[in-house]
């Protein structure tokens, strides 16, 4: 009797959105089929709507003051903890990356390891970036004049299309580490790791609303995000080339800050394993505002 292996029906996961610390389905009730690199169906993902974008931006804005007000050291520790929890889910991430990106198990393992290490690299910047990018300025007048970086606010991140986890982490961590909050539009074809990562975020100490994740059609969602007046900045790395000019034109309407992929860099061929190319303080600086204060000296 013990020799017969009981065939057990797998409990499948429903992939939902991540908004304000909760996992709602899209208000539109729509979904789309996500397939693996080999064409095999993997799951139904939510096809978010413009209303979901607005809800996500509202949740992000609500979370901004609290997250920005954390001490830098605390924020660094909270983000480091995300890496700790990713480590615990390593096997799940490897399986997802393998299926989504068609990698060998060894290659998938390398990608997941690097994603965790990259998260640690960025988390370490939390309490250092102000010292590297700030300054005290020797003005020719009796004032203590100093410049400090502050987070820009709500950052829209359009995740890379190809690199579903490592690319995603490399774009998500830089704005977060300084106190920005993020509305992320996941890879359209490979969105599942983004949702699994949000499950990690939800169970770490990252407050709800600090990261919000939407899955769906980029052509539908990105223009809405770019045109939302309460989004202060946009990382357009994962914007499809043919949408680029349109999206940047929309974003110009309220002077959004943009972090753009150079036009000569092909999204699909970018090497996310290259540390020198992807561990860049400039990507953090893109979502900072420099504030200069003139404080009087003496009477």
């Amino acid at each position: 009797m013990g020799s017969r292996v009981e065939a057990r029906l797998e409990v499948r996961k429903t992939y939902k959105l991540y908004i304000g610390g909760a996992f709602p389905r899209t208000e539109s009730g729509r979904s789309y089929l996500v397939s693996g690199a080999d064409g095999a169906p993997l799951a139904n993902a939510c096809r978010a709507s413009r209303k979901d974008v607005r809800d996500a931006v509202r949740a992000a804005r609500k979370a901004f003051d609290g997250w920005a007000a954390r001490t830098a050291m605390n924020r660094g520790q909270v983000l480091y903890r995300v890496a700790e929890l990713m480590e615990g889910r390593r096997e799940q991430f490897i399986a997802e990356v393998e299926a989504a990106e068609g990698l060998t198990p060894i290659a998938a393992r390398a990608v997941v390891d690097r994603a965790i290490d990259r998260w640690v690299w960025y988390a370490g910047w939390a309490d250092k970036i102000a010292q590297v990018l700030g300054s005290s300025n020797p003005v020719a007048a009796p004032y203590f004049n100093f410049t400090i970086p502050e987070p820009t606010g709500v950052v829209g991140v359009v995740a890379p299309e190809t690199s579903s986890l490592l690319g995603l982490v490399s774009r998500l961590a830089p704005p977060l580490v300084t106190g920005n909050v993020v509305v992320l539009i996941a890879s359209e074809r490979r969105p599942l790791s983004a949702i699994t990562l949000s499950e990690v975020l939800a169970t770490s100490d990252v407050p709800g609303g600090v990261v919000n994740v939407l899955t769906g059609r980029k052509a539908e969602l990105v223009p809405v995000l770019a045109g939302h007046a309460d989004v202060d900045a946009l990382d357009t790395w994962g914007v499809p080339d043919e949408m680029r000019t349109e999206v940047e034109t929309i974003a110009a309407e309220d002077i959004k800050r943009l972090l753009r992929r150079p036009t000569k860099v092909a999204e699909a061929r970018f090497d996310w394993l290259d540390d020198a190319a992807t561990e860049r303080p400039e990507w953090i600086a893109a979502f900072l505002e420099m504030k200069t204060v003139w404080h009087p000296i003496g009477g």
């Binding site: 940047e248 420099m290 504030k291 404080h295």
Partner: protein
Amino acid sequence: MAAMATDTTSSIVPASDRSPSSWGLGDGRAIPWEYAPAPEARDIVTLKERYGLFIGGRDVPASDGGTFGTLNPATEETLAHVARATPADADRAVRAARRAQTRSWGTLPGRERAKYLFRIARILQERSREFAVLESMDSGKPIKEARDVDVPLAAAHFWYYAGWADKLGYAFPGRVARPLGVAAQIIPWNFPLLMLSWKIAPALAAGNTVVLKPASTTPLSALLFADVCRQADLPPGVVNILTGPGEVGMALVTHPGVDKVAFTGSTEIGKRIAKGVAGTDKALTLELGGKAANIVFDDAPLDQAIEGIVNGIYFNQGEVCCAGSRLLVQESIAETLIDKLKDRLATIRVGDPLDKNTDVGAINSRAQLDKITELVASGVAEGAELYQPACDLPERGFFFRPTLFTNVAQSHRIAREEIFGPVLSVLTFRTPDEAVEKANNTIYGLSAGIWTDKGSRILEMAQRMRAGVVWANTFNRFDPTSPFGGYKESGFGREGGMHGLHAYVRLEDR
């Protein structure tokens, strides 16, 4: 006592606003004494009848031979005729800049670039009087300000960035800073020479070459600067200057040979420029409009604050993007402060910009004067209370009285829109939280002022302002080492300081 002869504001200034205050006249009347005229001699400036474009080190006419006149806004006389550049000229200038970047400037060692910039700083100092008088004549700003602020600061900017040219590695640790290439720079009419220096000095220090377009109402100091470049033996094409209308600016912005666009001006045009570079790899920095709050707490040194408020909004006729155009006063001192402010307004001397006594000169153009007039009318129509001191305005030229609005609501246009004129809107608050909320309740975020005796409050308020520059117990102070630039729709990128270099470099791995 000629100044007292007419009180043209009596019909619109309510009697309640004319009550005597604790220490001054308080009656809204002009000062009861006269200043002897103290005119600055204008013979130090030799105006040419015609000015060409400055392309590739040469003085050339526009491709179609077109010209336009530039006025002295204080007298409405035409000062000179200036070439009106065409898109073809923009193309010529970009090519000249590219040649210079690849053949001379970009390959020059940093320490050699530095010496050119030091030369420019020195020549600006040597010719400071000439620049100050010309700037005052072409822009309408008081000679006192051109002489003491614009020109010395412009020279100081070149001086400061000169020293960076051979030290870029220290500004970007772990990175190699490379020039972007050719920068298109478009500057406004409020501080023509100073904005030129903010743009050109860091660009050149980092190894870029530039095509600069000054505002069409104030082209002359940029063209005189072309002469400084010649005197400094700057290689041809490193600095190119195109005078002309906005279309020439847009031709530069959209030119495929341009690597970087830097613009200072209105938020409206800033948006058009941002759209102009959409979809390209061009780097962009924007320094746009503002509607700064100047916050006065009840423990502020009041007389000092009055001077700061006046400087904050009436400096350069209020034609300042970071002007303290919204005064937020703590309720308990509002009455006293407003009385004192009205007294102080009566002593402001409005008139001939070339008179060394003048505090408020001419508005830069008829169009700007019309805009100010329209917005002030909207303030009255929306129910705010207008106050203007009695003072005679010159018969010719574009002048506007220093203006103060009380009973202003946050919804009024004069509290929301950038007026870019000598118009102050006064609002009140009770608690610091309310002050923060009102101060940040704007699409802009360029600057803010805080007046209090308490250092810890200064730092807390500074932290809570969503603005790029926060002045405490002072206002409208500038320094080449001090980064300047906005939050929100006031733009992005910084000018001045180490941060100003960032706008002109591409960072590579070491």
